[in-house]
């Protein structure tokens, strides 16, 4: 497998960023939110390649958001790029603490533990008055390299550009990771982690590393959400927030990086338009949309164009001793 061409991968990121100049203002914020949500979902896809799904990415999303909000208010740091990086570091550090512990579990136990941890964090935030309790607190408008954006459209475009560039670079990194030696080992863990251990690789270490990457992505996205809303509250860590990210990851499938962004944008569009035309039943429309994708594209939207020959079916994931005579 040849190394991906970095220049060719950067081109769509640059093109989509510049496209923002021509987009109507209302689509800028929609696309920016889609791109930021896709960043968390991309982390879930990274983790899903080891066979584990996190239902609690809201934990790292909130950690990134709260970390940036506290630093912004205490130290006056308003630069959007710095905030994004700090969010990623906050999420990644928390992932570094939790990852090695949670990597010992798999399947439904893994998923439920992540969910439980995010809800514990949510509960703690709710009761912490110094962080605003259930109301949260506000932060100032972000700047970029010292520039203050007074014009609304320019401010929206700045956020759009930050979201697209950050998620675009994360996507390129994920693409390189997927094709790397480590990425292949991650797929192997997903199929048969005991065989991976027999080959000398620590399956737990592989899962924990992917977990930290996913946490850093979620932290960066949390920082972006903070910049967009200029307000943070415990809802960032609530299970419905995490569920939305899983929703996008399920829509996308795990085969294609670009599918995550398409899925996130599709979700935002379906939600916006169904909310507009069917304000009382928009969740029903979303549910039908997800069911349709699962029914007709069980391997996700990415399976429409993914050239990878990853086939399901006759899994070899039988435990080593199983079926063997004593």
């Amino acid at each position: 497998m040849a190394r991906p061409n970095l220049f060719l991968m950067l081109l769509p990121v640059i093109a989509i960023t510049l496209l923002g100049r021509a987009l109507p203002t209302w689509t800028l914020s929609l696309a920016a939110i889609a791109a930021a949500n896709a960043l968390v979902a991309l982390g879930i896809v990274v983790l899903a390649r080891t066979g584990n799904v996190s239902f609690g990415q809201g934990l790292f999303f909130a950690a990134g958001g709260y970390g940036v909000a506290l630093i912004a208010n205490h130290f006056g740091l308003t630069d959007a790029v710095a905030q994004m990086l700090i969010g990623a570091v906050c999420g990644g550090l928390l992932g570094l603490v939790i990852g090695p512990l949670i990597a010992r579990y798999s399947g439904i136990f893994f998923g439920m533990l992540t969910l439980a941890l995010s809800m514990v964090f949510y509960g703690a935030l709710l009761k912490t008055t110094v962080l605003g309790g259930s109301d949260g607190f506000n932060v100032g408008r972000p700047t970029l390299f010292g520039i203050h954006f007074v014009d609304t459209r320019e401010a929206d475009f700045m956020l759009y550009a930050i979201a697209v560039v950050t998620t675009g670079l994360a996507a390129i990194a994920a693409k390189i990771l997927f094709q790397s030696e480590f990425g292949l080992a991650s797929l192997a863990v997903r199929e048969n982690n005991l065989r991976v251990e027999y080959l000398g690789i620590s399956a737990n270490r592989v899962i924990a590393t992917n977990f930290v990457i996913a946490a850093a992505f979620a932290g960066a996205s949390g920082a972006f959400a903070l910049m967009a809303q200029r307000h943070i509250d415990p809802q960032f860590a609530y299970w419905t927030t995490s569920g939305e990210f899983v929703f996008i990851a399920v829509l996308a499938g795990y085969q294609s990086v670009s599918a995550v962004f398409v899925a996130s944008l599709a979700l935002e569009l379906v939600r916006s338009f169904s909310n507009l035309y069917l304000p009382n039943t928009w969740q029903l429309v979303l549910g039908i949309f997800l069911l349709a994708v699962i029914l007709f594209l069980p391997r996700g939207i990415g399976s429409l164009w993914s050239r990878e020959r990853r086939k399901t079916g006759d899994s070899a994931a039988t435990p080593a001793g199983e079926g063997a005579a004593t």
């Binding site: 040849a2 790397s180 030696e181 251990e197 027999y198 000398g200 086939k311 001793g321």
Partner: protein
Amino acid sequence: MSVVLSAQKLDKRFGAVVAADALSIDITAGQKVSLIGANGAGKTTFVNMVTGYLKPDRGSIVLDGIDIARHSPRRVAGLGISRSFQIPQLFVELTTAENLAVAIAGTHPKTLSLHSPAEAKGRRERAVELLQRFGLAQLADRPISELAGGVRKLIDIAMALVRRPKLLLLDEPTSGVSAEEKFSTMDRVIHAVAPDAATIVFVEHDMDIVSRYADRVVAFYSGRIIADGSPLDVLKDPEVRRYVTGGAR
């Protein structure tokens, strides 16, 4: 010749079932040792204990002076013991070369590259070279899910060979292979394994294979060793004829 592996007084019980009863065996470098016995005799339990999948209730397993009885499969692999499985344990969604690439990655587990392509130059060549030994190079880019059971078995063995193990354990390498192909399959295995694994222990039910390829035969019955010696002597042993071969030879 030096002893590669020394297992002493291994006990293993699963409830009331005795899978290993004071098993003691020394494996000498360069030997091709065949483990025989009826189903449930304790052969695979012995292999699972040596490779770290099962921990013995009592006893020691010493490899190069290190007691590995409580080691994990990963640590055991790192010390130079590899195995193949009765049911091939492959990554069926990956291609043959990718399966071997994972095995090659296992030779430097702490420095897995996060950016270098899995089949980068060197790794791909090593994978193809291994497949060539088994006559499977043309299948390098085929997904495992498209391959027949016999071929999967050979790939499983090729993956175990990547580490150039001090001791290679093969669990029924010819099971599931037709009677016409069993000798050619075993010939391929022995030929392919020769450059990298001087010491081989294989579990086998086919006495024709055992008498043709083994230097030494160890017969198991109810978790005990009932005979240990040359194929000629062991296969003539009355207890072995009674409990294992059923008078096959």
